[in-house]
Homo-oligomer: 234 residues x 2
């Protein structure tokens, strides 16, 4: 298994620019087969526009992007893919669409078997987790259940921040994640600050981006995850 | 129908203190019957603690709070209630619990018929809406569907803010709500800033709190809702 899971796509440097070196590493020695983009998290941006944006951003890494929404036979396209690229946007819509297309099991099987690699950011990183229960997104559509690809044995919280706008009386991110850790004290949650990502190679996880991620689990105090490689239970 | 739907509970003045005059108006001439608190949105706070907190906060308004989680026969308690008090916390857990108890229809029927009034804040305000699709909360548990009490013909977004922490690359609140308005261009969304609320008397809606709420619907430009009373389609 070979996954690159990013907190975010855009930075002052441009769209996916900060992640291009990591993406180049991910696709080095990629098996034969198309790089298939899943644009379904896009809501206010059309899937065509989204696919064009990502194709342009990944061209410098030598990746020729095909968008799944343009394929007449989605299952056949998934069966050929050597790389899944799952973009951010709304996690609920992303999961609803992939579930409706009946592709969750097939995508997971190809990634687990090593036939395809996986690049996801924001909602696309959430989709790789056991469930989408740690997304920050609004439940604008019913995803038909919260279970997702289950490629990694932990949850990701993208755009992780400890910021708290002055005067805001709603929950902070930490409070929201504490709620998750209360109802599910077992599953670890990795909070990925802007600009960070995880490289998952089978059971080894490396934190990328020059600043620590955070690990939350049950009642345990928050732990900083540095760039050192961690071993996780598959 | 008589509902008071608040953005938030706590302010510098204390817990529910800012809303006490509105709550006193809501319960004036209340029919005979208990004031029933639903603590189910509470996750990191125990339901006992939550019920005690709310009982203390509402005592100055002459309301003797009973908590539904202490009732052996929940359906019988709901059938007697003259006031439902639905607290904030996690909207997904709130909806999951009320659905699991089989009480959604019964509560909605009592409020619609005028046999009971409704006080809700944050998650409790979301529950009164057609669905919980405009909650800010994390989907920590599967609510078994997003449809809710459907007491008002619009969605509420509590803790509405246009703040954007510097460096944050995730969606702003406006972007999240724009996604909702894209997938559902028909249902209006009322954004309630901290300190505001809505008083719904049958088809008349008044904005409370000395600052405007905002109305979002489909592609239409954001509209400020002032304290004037509005008529809404039931």
């Amino acid at each position: 298994m070979n996954l690159l899971l990013l907190s975010n796509s855009s930075s002052d440097a441009g769209y996916l620019t900060h992640a291009l070196p990591w993406i180049s590493d991910l696709v080095a020695g990629l098996p034969e087969g198309p790089a298939l983009f899943l644009p379904y998290a896009g809501v206010t941006r059309s899937w065509d526009d989204y696919a064009d944006l990502v194709a342009g951003a990944l061209a410098p890494a030598g990746i020729a992007v095909q968008s799944l929404h343009r394929e007449a036979d989605a299952a056949a396209a998934v069966a050929r893919a050597a790389l899944f690229i799952v973009g951010g946007g709304n996690t609920f819509q992303l999961l609803a669409q992939v579930r409706q297309l009946g592709l969750l099991t097939q995508i997971a099987r190809r990634v687990r078997s090593g036939q395809a690699r996986y690049l996801g950011w924001s909602a696309g990183a959430n989709l790789a987790c056991p469930t989408i229960r740690t997304t920050n997104d609004m439940p604008i559509v019913d995803p038909g259940g919260l279970d997702a690809l289950n490629l990694v044995p932990f949850q990701i919280n993208a755009h992780y921040t400890e910021a708290h706008p002055p005067g805001h009386r709603g929950e902070t991110r930490r409070q929201r994640l504490a709620e998750f850790c209360r109802v599910d004290p077992v599953t670890p949650v990795v909070g990925l600050p802007e600009g960070t990502g995880l490289h998952v190679l089978d059971t080894r996880v490396a934190v990328l981006g020059g600043q620590p991620a955070v690990l939350l689990q049950g009642d345990a105090p928050l732990r900083e995850l540095t760039a050192d490689t961690l071993e996780v239970q598959a």
